[in-house]
Amino acid sequence: MAVEIKLPTLLRVQADGQATVAVEGATVGEVFNTLVERYPGLRGNLLDDSGSLHKFVNVYKDDDDIRYLDGLDTKLADGDVLSILPAVAGGV
């Protein structure tokens, strides 16, 4: 499946400055594996040591958070857009 991945400004430097990357894959996990093979600098930002989605990253497939779908096993269709969002937090 041909999908588009939208990257936040913070991660674009790891992807040759691109804001959007076209990748093929049947699931989010497959697409991420392809993405980090192409741009190894993204691996530590997207995945933790066990290969799961990093807790400081949120991923949306179109309008749905993949954590409420099937996580990295979420199936993809042609034209899906994956948005990678940084977790933004703080406090006193």
Partner: protein, 156 residues
């Protein structure tokens, strides 16, 4: 001594200032938060101009921590993309402490290019200050308020 990265000056319209501070009061007793959308300069850094101040939900619903609701982050990213802008900063309120980044704020500052705005509601009047946070280092930046023209008839 002013730090070398104590820039750019944050430029807000009165309306944006009201949106930011108003959202902080509206969020009480919890911390409030929001995202700043604006242009990047040729160097890839925020220019300090803000095209939109977007209040966001605090997913923590807490008086001592905030997390930008990811749904609102997605909305802000799409709005920025539609304008040809980027997300250039974040604001949040400190309900009972000063308008200065806490150790938590510094540790969790996600993007070194962003402007970090903190609104303190500790005192009678709100205090809004803006910072860059990079590599654990904090630098305060200036703020310019773009005031709308006053057209009232002078008295006396």
């Amino acid at each position: 001594m002013t730090s070398a990265f104590a820039q750019p000056t944050l430029r807000l319209t009165e309306s944006q200032y009201a949106t930011i501070v108003g959202s902080c009061y509206d969020g009480l007793p919890d911390e409030a938060c929001g995202l700043l959308v604006g242009p990047l300069g040729g160097n890839g850094e925020p220019t300090g101009a803000v095209s939109e101040a977007r209040p966001c939900r605090n997913a923590d619903a807490s008086a001592v921590t905030y997390t930008i609701d990811p749904r609102d982050m997605l909305g802000a990213m799409r709005a920025a993309e539609a304008r040809g802008d980027e997300i250039v900063g974040v604001w949040h309120s400190h309900t009972h402490t000063e308008a200065y980044p806490s150790p938590t704020d510094v540790r969790q500052a996600v993007d070194p290019a962003w402007l970090y705005v903190i609104v303190s509601l500790r005192d009678q009047m709100p205090v809004l200050r803006s910072y860059r946070i990079r590599g654990g280092e904090i630098a305060e930046v200036g703020i310019e308020l773009d005031r709308a023209p006053r057209t009232g008839i002078p008295t006396g």
